[in-house]
């Protein structure tokens, strides 16, 4: 963990802390129809980023179901994963009409992802990592979240806000969870962290109660704390942002919990996107992938939860329960989901039998799931090369990078978010990922 970054980021709030005009007033005015609908806002694309925390085993997420010319990947897989490996029949094939010979299958838990893949909505990018891989959860998470393997930097989505010209009063980026991760902290701007919609309210009552409103108005006043005390100023600005957020979301109805944390987070994401608050980027976490032991059971549970939650995000159906209406085709046409994890895991398993797991590894595949086909700029299918797995006689120990994560970010910033000044020009985009 590079402990230096936090302080570096602390003093970067800018002079906007002195701004006393509540940004909520601007948004409330818009919601009340006092301003013309912003056409740029209406056309803006949305991105939901899901962090699979702990290091998701990519090799069991998309696994080799057959050897292919020049690469005995399935033979190696069978050899190195006698306990936790899947049989070819269990794989949900990545071959599609006109696009065959991958020799790969999705984990059997990823049924919905597979059917979206077959519709051409899912891009599987193979072997994603960065140079000089670091096996630490914390260092590797930070590199993935900043997109900078070699230097101290702010988060890549936070810097997107900086460079897209987002103003202090916009509610443009939200991180779901009870901390604000570095991915959402830029040099000048940052996202807003919230747990969920039901808890985004004050414990002493709503603004409709005069006594409560007087307190909430006062709380917003801490936003004027002098910038010289960086942490206290951040605390004060956050107090004001909190009052605004509560007012933005007051009266929002929320479906009952799905019983799945990641699905609930995606319910929150859907509601935030559907309320026209200007939210463009949402980050959420699905944790528990650090499967040093009992991998089959643990990873399968997590992938099933992810798969069910992703299906619900668009269809509204969580298993057999109708949580809400299907996403409108207008919103769906502008919305993309992206997954990532801090690393994949090692090729070989540790231990034996049901208790077997895998230790920290390197490259792994990530998913981008775009709009229902037809005019979607995202090119579904398999992108990038599969990492070398060695031979059955001499299996590789680890999966090395074949796709630099910065190329994926550059593509997303350029082709999906239309950032005017994307971050990774030197690395370039991943050709063919977007049409």
């Amino acid at each position: 963990m590079t402990l230096s970054r936090r302080r570096f980021l602390a003093g970067t709030g800018g002079a906007a802390g002195a701004l006393m005009l509540s940004p909520w007033l601007a948004r409330a005015g818009r919601a009340a129809g006092l301003g013309a609908a912003d056409p740029a806002l209406a056309a803006r694309r949305r991105l939901v980023v899901i962090f699979l925390g702990g290091g998701n085993d990519g090799l069991n997420t998309v696994f080799p179901v057959a050897d292919v010319a020049g690469a005995a990947r399935h033979s190696v897989y069978r050899k190195v994963r006698p306990s936790i490996g899947y049989t070819p029949e269990q794989g949900l094939t990545l071959d599609r009409p006109g696009d065959v010979g991958h020799g790969l299958g999705f984990n059997p838990m990823l049924k919905n992802v597979h059917s979206m893949y077959r519709e051409g909505r899912v891009a599987v990018v193979q072997g994603v990592d960065y140079p000089n891989h670091n096996y630490s959860h914390f260092t590797s998470t930070e590199i993935w979240q900043t997109g900078e393997p070699e230097r101290t930097a702010a988060g890549w989505l936070g810097r997107h806000l900086d460079r897209a010209g987002v103003s202090e009063e916009e509610l443009r980026a939200v991180a779901i969870g009870n901390r604000l991760p570095i991915i959402m902290r830029g040099e000048d701007r940052q996202g807003v962290g919230m747990v969920d919609i039901p808890s985004t309210k004050f414990s002493d009552g709503a603004d409709t109660d005069l006594q409560s409103r007087l307190r909430h108005d006062s709380l917003a006043g801490f936003g004027g704390h002098p910038e010289a005390e960086a942490l206290r100023a951040l605390h004060g600005r956050t107090s004001r942002a909190t009052v605004d957020l509560v007012r933005d979301l007051s009266g929002t109805t929320v479906p009952a919990t799905t019983g799945s944390r990641v699905a609930d987070a995606l319910v929150t994401a859907r509601i935030l996107l559907e309320k026209d608050l200007g939210v463009e980027v949402i980050y959420l976490e699905h944790n528990g992938f650090d499967t040093h032991a009992n991998q089959r059971t643990n990873q399968e549970n997590l992938l099933r939860q992810l798969d069910d939650a992703l299906a619900m995000f668009w269809t509204g159906m969580h298993g057999t329960r109708q949580v809400f209406e299907p996403m409108s085709s207008d919103l769906a046409a502008r919305t993309m989901v992206m997954t990532f994890s801090e690393f994949g895991r090692r090729i070989g398993e540790n231990g034996a039998g049901a208790g077997a797991g895998t230790d920290h590894g390197a490259a792994s595949p990530l998913f981008l799931i775009g709009p229902p086909s037809g005019g979607s700029p995202l090119a579904g299918g398999v992108h990038g090369d599969h990492p070398d797995m060695g031979t059955p006689l001499l299996p590789a120990d680890n999966l090395a990078m074949t796709t630099d994560l910065r190329k994926v970010y550059e593509s997303v910033l350029t082709h999906w978010l239309a950032n005017p000044d994307p971050l990774y020009r030197r690395t370039g985009t991943l050709p063919g990922l977007f049409r």
């Binding site: 936090r6 901390r179 006043g221 540790n350 231990g351």
Partner: protein, 455 residues
């Protein structure tokens, strides 16, 4: 070391950072005294055996006796709440708040959690005792003890690591998070693999005790950080520890963590090179014998601890315990525990092996609302008990801002806090708010203020 007498703000800051906050009595006692005297007072912790005997039968007394995480979820949750309540009350009422603060520090440093099928609450209580007993002892002893602590053996899979197929989970975190840090990284992947081999053989027996099973241990030679280790059986983990602690990185890393979590974030960490002046002094105190008492003494006597410019965001548990202690109410209320949980801190259940966040990671609308909820829970309990509290010390009138600062263990309000509170008093007067609402508001707003969270 300053010979000057302490101001109320300095007393508030020292207690706020290392002792779960000041009470009005603490302010009265220590304002005007020397930092040296306050340091001696906070450090007057009893010897290890006394601390130990005060707690030996605690899990039994609390009926935290059974394995209860995955098999029996309800009982596990209840036991977790019992354990959390017990520790929060201990933090609030202890005569040695520094010792509890350091126990919390080590719980964060050696972050061990409960998620099934990992350790049970009884094991976590056992580890808690281990941390307390060693909190001001030798860091080398502490590392040795935690390596074969039953809860840790479960949490980082040591108990599943076996000859031929070693599990690297503990070995990696022992080097990365517990002893050497990675800024810059001074160990390689080979060191982790070799250390994992040396640590094979440990299991947890049916009595929740660590045991060494020779058949599961890899007796071959390993090379860890340049040292050849082999055939030492159940003493190999000590050789691994010694190899880690012998690196130049280790003392600097542990010193950095102590300063970062107890005083302020001391700029970029570099475990090999120049350090912040306070980190360097703590490192030098640690170096010869890994003496934690010596290291913490340096911190308590440091002028940096008094410096108002060196600020730190307090953890939710610290804020909750302080509020309850200062107001004179119990800290084990369900509403308080729920609010701490909502702020992102569950005792005995940290988010991951990296422990809890630092500074700005604690600060988001999510945590602001949870902190507000904590303030509401605490102030409503204080007002509910107003008659009882009045026997010892009545709650101040809403308009008595100096009285509120003192009651909540803070220096008289200045700047933004003062203007916000005065602004509230004026608007509530205009709106004819009743006194009980005004009292509620002042308490809530103080506990929601930047000065309260960031000290």
């Amino acid at each position: 070391m300053t010979a000057a007498s302490l101001t109320a703000a300095e007393v508030s800051r020292v207690f706020g950072k290392v002792a779960f906050g000041a009470t009005a009595a603490d302010l009265d006692t220590w304002t005007g005294k020397s930092q040296e005297a306050l340091a001696a007072h906070l450090l007057s912790v009893p010897s290890q055996s006394e601390v130990l005997s005060a707690q030996a039968d605690e899990p039994e007394r609390l009926a935290i006796t059974g394995a209860a995480t995955s098999a029996n979820k309800e009982s596990g949750r209840t036991q977790l709440q019992v354990a959390q309540s017990w520790w929060l009350e201990r933090m609030r009422t202890t005569r040695w708040p520094l010792l509890e603060r350091l126990t919390l520090f080590w719980h964060d440093h050696f972050a061990t959690g409960l998620s099934a099928p990992y350790p049970d609450v009884a094991m976590m209580m056992g580890q808690n005792q281990l941390l307390r007993v060693n909190a001001l002892g030798s860091f080398a002893d502490l590392v040795a003890a935690i390596t074969v602590d039953p809860a840790m053996l479960h949490w980082l899979d040591g108990a599943r690591s076996v000859k031929g197929k070693p599990n690297e989970n503990y070995a990696r975190e022992l080097l990365e998070l517990f002893t050497m840090g990675v800024s810059p990284q001074q160990f390689g992947e080979v060191d982790i693999r070799e250390a994992a081999r040396a640590l094979t053989g440990w299991v947890v027996d049916g009595q929740r005790k660590a045991a060494f099973d020779t058949r599961r241990h890899d007796p071959g030679f390993k090379t860890v950080l340049g040292r050849r280790i082999g055939d030492l059986g159940d003493r190999e983990h000590l050789a691994v520890r010694d190899a880690a602690l012998a690196t130049p990185a280790a003392a600097g890393f542990v010193a950095y963590k102590l300063v970062q979590k107890l005083v302020y974030e001391p700029g970029p960490i570099d475990v090999t090179g120049n350090a912040d002046a306070l980190v360097a002094r703590v490192r030098n105190a640690l170096r010869p014998k890994w003496d934690l008492l010596a290291a913490v003494t340096v911190i308590l006597k440091a002028p940096e601890l008094l410096d108002p410019a060196r600020q730190l965001a307090r953890q939710p548990v610290e804020q909750a315990v302080h509020a309850c202690k200062a107001l004179g109410i119990a800290a084990d209320l369900a509403t308080v525990i729920q609010a701490i949980d909502a702020m992102g801190q569950r005792l005995f259940d940290p988010p991951n092996v990296g422990g809890w966040p630092v500074d700005e990671e604690w600060i988001s609308p999510g945590t602001s609302l949870a902190r507000y909820r904590l303030a509401t829970a605490v102030e409503s309990e204080a007002r509910r008990q107003a008659d009882i509290l009045a026997v010892v010390s009545p709650l101040p009138a809403a308009g008595d801002l100096d009285g509120w600062a003192r009651r909540l263990g803070l220096a008289p309000f200045t700047g933004t806090t003062k203007s916000v509170l005065q602004g509230y008093l004026e608007s509530s007067t205009r709106n004819k708010s009743p006194e009980n609402q005004r009292q509620k508001s002042v308490m809530t707003l103080v506990m929601a203020s930047p000065e309260w969270t960031v000290m």
